[in-house]
């Protein structure tokens, strides 16, 4: 059974935290098709959040096709996400790499920065991001056209 942790200071909407943590559990193989998500009652009893927030998160997961609500039975996982279960060999290699980074004297932030840079290089984010409602973000210099 997954347990959700709600961080009130994260600035991420509470329902979205539940959605993201479910994605994470699916990616890591902590949840697999056929598994049951905790009931709204169980989630709110542990987290003290509003029941409608949980239902909103579950509706979003259902819309994404990841889970399905079965009347009177609960909400069940329909399909998994990604292919990097917690016990995959790739995780082992990453663990080795992290050990070598530590041995080389890198600190947590150094490792995170390095990882983020490689991630950015190998998995560029989709270009067609919907326009943000908030202030526009600065574009990376490499994608800016030079009219001159």
């Amino acid at each position: 059974m997954v347990e959700y942790r709600i961080d009130r200071r994260s600035g991420v909407a509470t329902y979205l935290q539940i959605v993201q943590q479910t994605h994470q559990a699916l990616r890591l193989g902590l949840l697999e098709p056929g598994d049951k998500l905790p009931t709204a009652r169980e989630v709110v009893e542990a987290t003290a959040i509003n029941p409608n927030t949980v239902l909103k998160a579950y509706r979003e997961l259902e819309r994404e096709g990841l889970v399905e609500a079965r009347r009177g039975l609960g909400t069940f996982v329909r399909r998994s996400l990604g292919s990097a279960p917690a016990d995959s060999p790739l995780r082992g290699e990453l663990l080795d790499w992290a050990g070598r980074a530590r041995a080389a004297g890198l600190e947590r932030d150094d490792v995170a920065a390095l990882f983020a840079a490689v991630l950015e290089e190998q998995f560029p984010p989709p270009q067609s991001e919907p326009p943000a409602k908030t202030a526009p973000r600065a574009q990376p210099a490499t994608t800016m056209g030079d009219p001159a």
Binding site: R8, V44, E45, T47, A48, I49, P51, N52, K133
Partner: protein, 299 residues
């Protein structure tokens, strides 16, 4: 059954002729099954509103319906925990629970009441007068929850509880709401932990409802804008509050149509929304559609 938990129309209560009325033309509707935060500064009229809904006070004028009937008639289906948590000081914890069972025959949930008490390490034989403030709160909430009411009216329920007890009791309340569709109204002068638990908000100040409606609806109706324009440029919207920031301006507005793209627009947090309205007592009230008192209200 009714889909409305509380409906107030022009509700007014004056404690004396010479004093300003505690409630002054209060109108709103709260749908059944909602978890509502009743917030406002000290002396705003929160406790008065809850006591009226519990049928303990009579309004000077205006009308109020609770669960589709008069507040006094709804009392068997309502649980009310007053701010000072009145309990019989001479009874023990176990005797208090037994009293709850005797007074609520047929609906008493002994298992739930016992669990709420056991969670707090209360000694069953301890007299109420020997309990700490937090322990009394827990016992009072155990009585209210054991009653299995359709509507829980809680006046500052968490004020003297430690953070862990607060979180646990809020979890228990939310579990009740999830399982039984219980309507909960909780007052507080700080928003704090209520923010995540509530889906409905009533902001009361000066005896009136300033904001009323679903939390998401209220937040979406407003925007926090920053830019180098002037307040006059925002005239098509309702400016709740504005402040100079450097060379520019930050304003919390109630939007009417799209905002000029020259402004940076962000969604305010619930806390920002409340503080802005408390600092600007003259800003017009907003009660979102579906949460205004519409139908005839029982006398």
């Amino acid at each position: 059954m009714t889909d409305t938990a509380i409906e107030a129309a022009d509700l007014t209560l004056a404690y004396g002729r010479r004093r300003a009325p505690a409630l002054n033309g209060c109108s709103f509707r709260l749908a059944a099954g909602r978890v509502c935060a009743l917030v406002g500064p000290n002396g705003a009229g929160k406790s008065t509103l809850l006591a009226l809904a519990a049928g303990l006070l009579r309004p000077t004028s205006g009308r109020l319906a609770v669960l589709g009937t008069a507040p006094a008639a709804a009392r068997p289906r309502v649980a009310y925990v007053a701010q000072d948590k009145p309990l019989h000081p001479g009874l023990s914890v176990a005797e208090t629970l037994r009293l709850g069972a005797e007074l609520n025959r047929g609906s008493w949930d002994a298992e739930l009441a016992a669990r709420v008490v056991a969670d707090g390490d209360l000694d069953a034989g301890a007299r109420v007068c020997s309990l700490s403030g937090g322990q009394r709160t827990r016992l009072a909430l155990a009585l209210a929850l054991g009653k299995r009411a359709e509507l829980l009216l809680l006046d500052e329920p968490m004020a003297d509880l430690d953070p862990l007890a607060r979180h646990r009791l809020m979890g228990t309340l939310m579990a009740e709401a999830a399982e039984h569709g219980t309507t909960v109204v909780m007052s507080s002068h700080i928003l704090g932990e209520l923010a995540d638990a509530c889906d409905h908000l009533l902001l009361v100040s000066g005896g009136r409802v300033r904001l009323g409606g679903g939390v998401d609806d209220l937040v979406h109706a407003h925007a926090l804008v920053t830019g180098t324009g002037r307040v006059a440029d925002l005239a098509r919207h309702t400016v709740v509050e504005s402040r100079a920031t450097g060379r520019g301006l930050t304003a919390l507005i109630r939007t009417d149509g799209p905002v000029d793209p020259a402004w940076d627009v962000a969604e305010p947090s619930l806390e920002e929304l409340l503080l802005a309205h408390l600092r600007a007592p003259d800003a017009p009230a907003l009660i979102t559609p579906g949460t205004t008192a519409t139908r005839a209200v029982a006398a």
